[in-house]
Symmetry: C2
Subunit: 300 residues, 2 copies
């Protein structure tokens, strides 16, 4: 596969229990020139399927639109229940610039998909994150607040008029959020204590919400089977808030409790740049360029 | 390009001044299915050209043999001079396993190229490093000792009978070393002092030769224009002697002199794994797998 420009999309569909339906939804990502399906995982408790797919911008957008149409035909949100908050059959469709694509171009791509989906599928669509048309619509959690059940009322409010499509919920498909964002890195740091209050305290100190790092969301979690706690982090822009900076800040805060950092973990995929940046920091590397990485040259 | 098995070769040719000849030598690496020319650099002082090329094993071997033939036709070592030690028109041809290729397979590939070159080109060939037929032939510096001018006498010694080809120097092409080795990482650590004796002392302590790390060669170097010194390192197997271990050992040794480590640098290409390993160490990553790197999944 010789993709010269690469965008990633991670569409979330509100179906996690029926493998037959899920296969039909991901079908448009298979065997298509310029598109590569990397992963899809269904969660029965969440009743949700998260797809990871990369591709050249145009074929990727076309494949995403086909998958959205399939999901709308197969999912009826009126009978949907699951632990994860959701507002649509196609709940959220993020586009992430990966290679030779600017954020501006990813924003335009997301906008195009949102507009076409609204026109063709009669779906109300919100633009979010980097694509958002207003500050209060950037945060997906704010957009989704009220969920499917609350959307009929929410869409009547002028500040929640959809960016595209009707100002009324799709009867079975609800509402969809489409947007461009930076790659998200799910990164957890484990502490050598069973005291959840310590993980909570550190999470508050390092996260943006409470005065910490700008592109860092965090909360304390208990790992009961290991008898330890964890600061569970979403790094929302590793190019501006580096992984190692969050890690070192946690170490500094843990010191006040006399608690050791016993390990960390990356959940799912991580861009190579996030780890190279980390290695470069600790090795104090001067003038290192990503094209010095053998693999990046081979596949260039 | 969809190469599923990848070997790297870094052939060194004894011509660094005539761009026309060099173009003819690298020609076999261009526009060939299953082969990708990554880089070639000529050095006028060394009078030497170093080529970096990757490919599927079979087409790569065929291309290397063609380039060897071209070099033998174009280079006359009897009139060659340069700063770098050399014994052949094709001085050395290493093969490095990169992806889905074992070291054993790289050794076999090198052996095949050595045998064919000897038969077709009438060239005496030594196998070295992982391909070596005896312990005293592993080290390229030992094999090359005496250089082109000393080879006629050296080849008469029973312990220096070539592995393939005649036990006599090729009149214009000399002798060639072919072998398989691990990727080499050229890694330098800069010290905040102008005292070369300190860099020399630390180099001795960390290198294999004097009791240090097994896959680490090192020496002290002066960086006159910056007024500092450097421990200049060749990491000969980063999978067993990690980069960060050499770096941290240097830091420990520098402490005894009250000298800071002011930076480090990677010269040329480095396998992604060497940097991921470093990031994983410093972040204390648990259970991280290379296929969690987005790029490795995209190009898989």
């Amino acid at each position: 596969m010789a993709m010269t420009r690469i965008v990633e999309s991670v569409p979330n569909f509100s179906e996690g229990r029926d493998p037959g339906k899920i296969e039909k939804i991901v079908q448009p990502f298979r065997g298509r020139e310029g598109v590569k399906l990397l992963d899809y995982q269904r969660d029965e408790d969440h009743n949700r399927c998260v797809v990871t797919v990369v591709g050249e911008p145009e074929p990727l957008a076309a494949a995403v639109l086909e998958a959205m149409q399939a999901a709308l035909e197969l999912i009826d949100l009126r009978t949907h229940s699951g632990q994860h908050p959701r507002m649509g059959a196609v709940d959220v469709v993020p586009f992430v610039p990966v290679k030779n694509v600017t954020m501006k171009e990813a924003v335009a791509l997301a906008r195009g998909v949102a507009e076409t989906a609204a026109q063709k599928l009669g779906l109300p669509v919100f633009l979010y994150e980097e694509s958002a048309s207003a500050a209060h619509r950037r945060n997906l959690a704010e957009v989704r607040k009220g969920q499917f059940e609350g959307m009929p009322e929410k869409l009547k409010l002028p500040e929640w008029k959809p960016d595209f499509g009707p100002a009324a919920v799709h009867p079975t498909g609800g509402v969809t959020a489409v947007g461009a964002r930076m790659p998200l890195v799910a990164y957890n740091v484990n502490l050598g204590t069973s005291d959840l209050a310590i993980a909570d305290d550190i999470a508050r100190k390092i996260r943006h919400l409470n005065g910490g790092l700008r592109y860092c969301k965090a909360l304390g979690i208990e790992l009961k089977e290991r008898g330890i706690v964890q600061v569970s982090i979403n790094m929302t822009d590793y190019t501006r808030t580096a992984l190692y900076r969050a890690f070192e800040l946690i170490r500094i805060e843990a010191r006040r409790w006399g608690v050791p950092v016993v390990g960390s973990e990356i959940v799912g995929l991580v861009p190579m740049g996030a780890l190279i940046d980390t290695a470069a920091y600790y090795l104090q590397l001067e003038n290192f360029k990503t094209d010095q990485v053998l693999e990046s040259r081979i596949y260039e």
